[in-house]
């Protein structure tokens, strides 16, 4: 038996990629029809219709071992270095401000504002690039503002002795440098989850994600301690270490980091709630301290004044960060290991489960102009194709094919020696009339 005596084998050879990649006989049937195989060819292959032919092709097609999907080249250098940008900008700005003479007050103010704006933009670039934070981003501003000026305000508002407060410059520097560990831990967790998405079991995924989350949190806590330690050791004159106030600024990195993690996975409401809690505690402390000045209301300031007198002004932001951080941590531990929290992630195949044909991956094949493609169930359909004046004219284009291939219908003749695959007549039903 030669290969040419078996027209189905000839078809199989010609459409090998199609048949190997198909997951369903109907997929082969659609592909064959799009490539010009019609009822006449099916009849030549001794089949009632294209569907029966496709079933035989599906049964006979070899399943190639799926190739290991190429890992996309990641710009590891950029991903590692970019989170350091806010800290670098902030440090450079503070150093420049310190170098200016004290009489150039307008210049110092302008430089400070410019440095702040640039740092904020860099923070947005690092943290909000993949997931817009929405209202959570706005709610992060009150705690950050309190970390910069809140201690001084509280010290002024409280009746009694003057409390020692931290420096805004040191707090700003610490916060800007905290962005780096936050971004690194977040990206590490996201990458790990993307890799875990190939896990075959939901339970496996949840366990892996939970372990990865706890590891990430520990890592974040450890990494957040590095900038204050470095500041304490170096203690540059333009951003002096100022005890508890600076430490409180560093502690704010904890709720902010957890909120960034939640925002990255689409849990914006939870992140906003945690940050709102931090801000609310701090603003409540300020409000109570302010209310103490009202006649007859001095008792209102007592809940704030007592701990501040005992431990310094930093106790308020530290307590706020502890409360908000606990809420965010509980929320993250509950919500993030859920598989449904990871649908916004790009799916990256990390093992050989991809069912793609070799050489036809998205990066290999040129993009075909197919505006008439039906937006099926794809998440981003394109309904903006121009309205078709007459339906059916804009037919979907199959992949281009060299011209001589059309002649296969004639060249594959079927003679008496034609064999069919044995088990493929069972699904045949009696012929039905055409429409």
């Amino acid at each position: 038996m030669s290969a040419s005596a078996d027209p189905v084998r000839a078809l199989l050879t010609e459409h090998r990629e199609l048949c190997a990649a198909a997951v369903d006989p109907l997929e082969i049937a659609a592909g064959l029809e799009a490539r010009g195989v019609d009822e006449a060819t099916a009849a030549r292959c001794r089949h009632r219709d294209v569907f029966a032919l496709a079933e035989e092709l599906h049964a006979r097609a070899g399943r190639p071992a799926p190739p290991p999907a190429p890992r996309p080249a990641r710009r590891a250098g950029v991903r590692l270095a970019l989170p350091l940008l806010p800290g670098a900008l902030c440090a450079a700005g503070l150093w420049l401000v310190d170098r200016l003479p004290p009489e150039a007050a307008p210049g110092r103010a302008a430089l400070t504002v410019a440095c702040g704006v640039l740092t904020l933009l860099a923070v947005l670039l690092v943290l909000a690039r993949h997931a817009p934070p929405g209202v959570a981003g706005l709610l992060a501003l009150p705690p950050v503002g309190y970390a910069l000026v809140g201690d001084a305000m509280l010290g002024e508002l409280l009746v009694g002795r003057h409390h020692e407060t931290g420096s805004a410059a040191g707090a700003a520097l610490l916060l800007a440098f905290s962005v780096a560990p936050i971004a690194w831990c977040r990206d590490a967790f996201t990458d790990r989850c993307a890799a875990l998405l190939a896990a075959p079991r939901l339970r496996e995924f949840a366990a892996g994600a939970r372990a990865s989350l706890l590891r990430g949190c520990l890592l974040l806590a450890a990494a957040l301690a590095v900038p204050p330690a470095a500041l304490w050791l170096l203690s540059p004159p333009w951003a002096p270490w100022a005890g508890g106030g600076t430490l409180a600024a560093a502690a704010l990195g904890w709720p902010l980091g957890l909120a960034a993690l939640l925002v990255r996975h689409g849990l914006r409401a939870l992140a906003a709630a945690g940050l709102a809690l931090v801000g609310a505690v701090e603003l409540l402390a300020l409000a109570l301290a302010g209310a103490g000045w009202l006649p007859g209301c001095s008792a209102l300031a007592e809940p704030v004044a007592a701990p501040v007198a005992a431990h310094g002004t930093a106790v308020v932001p530290l307590a706020a960060c502890a409360v908000g951080g606990c809420l965010l941590l509980v929320g993250a531990v509950v919500a993030l290991p859920r598989p449904s929290a990871h649908r916004a992630l790009p799916l990256r195949p990390v093992d050989g489960r991809a069912g793609r044909v070799p050489g036809t991956g998205p990066r290999d094949a040129p993009r075909a102009p197919s505006p008439a493609a039906p937006p099926d169930l794809s998440p981003d359909p394109s309904p903006d194709a121009p309205p078709d004046p007459s339906p059916g004219v804009s037919q979907r284009r199959p992949p281009p094919r060299p011209w001589p291939h059309r002649s296969h219908a004639r060249s594959t003749t079927s003679d008496d020696r034609t064999t069919r695959h044995a088990g493929h007549d069972r699904n045949r039903s009696p012929g039905r009339p055409e429409v």
């Binding site: 659609a30 799009a34 995924f205 493609a373 039906p374 309904p383 903006d384 004219v393 284009r397 002649s407």
Partner: protein, 524 residues
């Protein structure tokens, strides 16, 4: 009669599929009350312009198949009910035949059970995007009988599938069925007419399930086939996100599309396939041939014929074809045939209507034809196309791509004698009103063209026969008349099956005041 026109990604939005066809249908039947219920496919479509509606469109409701899932998290009890129904549906999805019946039955049973639960609990809300739905899907992939490709599904695949199913099943959560003060609901409609299978037919299917409203499904391009074609394009890396191109996702979604197609074809009282191939696909998915009526997409035959009649005959023998000339359209064979024709008739030339001129070297046969023998002419609009076809002596149609051969019918409407390659639906459309040649045979094509070029009498006879055939079968009016007859038949069947209550019989033919319903347009 009250007809509910169900569309997806089309009318009344100005941009989308089959907008012009739906608009023509609605405007051609002013005797019926229409309510248009449209599912939009994207933000740009939903926010984009809409077509102006004639006054007999009483109501427009829209739903969206895009964006984040609407609603809140369902209650625990609702979630349990949804889980049971979804389990049944996924059993049908992955090919598990239960004790009760076949796969299709389980899918349809699960679908209707899910619809019942959604109606009872006020919509599925976010449930299909929850972990519970994922767990059900995971279990379905591990069942015996699941497709081979689905067995290897990872968590990411399940997420991709659940996301798409959530979008596709959103019609289950719509409030189109029960009726409220501003919307009588699909139960009050006499006929549901779904333009396209898939999600567009889902509301009609549910209206039939809840209220017994008869369903008519018009399908020019079979949804299941389009799904498979786009999945194939996805494996080749075109226009499909990488997550959807993985084999487990494709297997599960193919199972869903097949189940939905089966349920729709089983539930529809009348199915109108757009061509013979669509009819074959529908029958393959369980459509009853007795319920199928062909409705061709149609061409403005009368308009084209009137325009073409005013134009003079071409001075030189001219073959006219529909562009663009490229490999897909088998232009190489056509140009070889042209070279042969020119060997016998040196003045002959080829006119290609529409599409850009091919790049040099793109079509192998171009080098066989001297420059100037092939002319390209852009042709947009009925007048330009009629002029183009009328500028030819003989129309040559070689495009073997399937679907409705609109260019062939245009040429027939213009009264040209047609030589067509016997592929796709050409034989079905042309009948004996033209010359058919076997595919891939330039010599036969050239011979047929030469014979017609040299025989004006036969040319005229075939042209007249072609025009008569086009007028008879492929005009817009013909398809609309078929659909109108279908409406009447289905409405009569429903009226016979369920006698109207006494209050309705007391005032026969009473219509709701136009202002009440027309003012109820909802922008959702």
């Amino acid at each position: 009669m009250r007809v509910a026109l169900l569309t997806e990604g089309g009318y009344p939005y100005a941009q989308g599929e089959l907008v012009a066809w739906c608009e023509r249908l609605v405007r051609a039947l002013p005797g019926h009350d229409f309510e248009v219920r449209a599912l939009s496919r994207g933000r740009r479509q939903a926010r984009g312009p809409r077509r102006p509606l004639p006054p007999h469109v009483r109501l427009v409701r829209t739903g969206r198949l895009w964006g984040p899932p609407p609603g809140r998290r369902p209650s625990r009890r609702a979630a349990r009910d949804f889980g049971e129904a979804f389990e049944e549906l996924t059993a049908g999805l992955t090919g598990d035949t239960g004790a009760g019946g076949g796969v299709a039955d389980r899918f349809a049973m699960g679908l209707y059970a899910l619809a019942d639960q959604a109606a009872a609990h006020g919509g599925l809300a976010r449930w299909l995007a929850s972990d519970q739905a994922l767990a059900v899907l995971e279990a379905a992939c591990r069942r015996p009988g699941a497709p081979r490709a689905a067995v290897g599904a990872g968590v990411g695949d399940l997420l991709a599938v659940a996301e798409r199913l959530e979008r596709a099943l959103r019609p289950l959560s719509l409030d189109w069925y029960a009726g409220d003060p501003f919307d009588p609901g699909l139960g009050k409609a006499d006929v549901c007419h779904a333009v396209g299978g898939g999600p567009a037919a889902l509301p009609g299917l549910l209206a039939r399930h809840f209220h017994g409203t008869p369903l008519l499904v018009t399908e020019f391009r079979v949804r299941l086939r389009e799904h498979h074609l786009s999945a194939l394009a996805g494996t080749a890396g075109h226009a499909v996100p990488p997550s959807a191109a993985r084999a487990p996702v494709r297997a599960l979604l193919a199972g869903f599309q097949l189940g939905l197609a089966r349920a729709v074809y089983h539930g529809a009282q009348l199915i109108t396939p757009g061509d013979a191939r669509a009819g074959r696909w529908q029958r393959r998915c369980g459509a009853d041939p007795a319920r199928q009526r062909p409705v061709w997409p149609g061409v403005a035959v009368g308009e084209l014929a009137a325009l073409a009649d005013e134009l003079p005959a071409p001075p030189v023998p001219t073959l006219v074809t529909a562009g663009p000339l490229d490999e897909e359209a088998d232009a190489g064979g056509l140009l070889r045939a042209l070279a042969r024709v020119r060997a016998a008739e040196p003045a002959a030339r080829l006119l290609a209507l529409g599409g850009p001129a091919p790049e040099p070297g793109a079509v192998p046969g171009v080098r066989w034809c001297p420059p100037g023998s092939v002319e390209h002419r852009p042709a947009a609009g009925a007048a330009a196309r009629a002029a183009g076809w009328a500028a030819g002596t003989v129309a040559v149609l070689v495009d073997a791509r399937g679907g409705f051969p609109a260019a062939l019918v245009e040429a027939m409407s213009c009264g040209r004698a047609v030589v067509a390659v016997d592929a796709g639906a050409a034989a079905e459309a042309l009948g004996d009103a033209g010359v058919l040649v076997p595919p891939g045979d330039p010599a036969a094509l050239a011979d047929a063209c030469l014979a017609l070029l040299r025989d004006p009498a036969r040319r005229a006879r075939l042209g007249a026969a072609a025009r008569a055939r086009a007028l008879d079968r492929f005009s817009h009016e013909r398809g609309i008349a078929t659909l109108d007859a279908g409406y009447a038949e289905l409405a009569a069947g429903r009226a016979a099956a369920r006698p109207r209550p006494r209050w309705a019989r007391a005032a026969p033919g009473r219509r709701p005041a136009p202002g009440v319903l027309a003012g109820a347009e909802e922008l959702s």
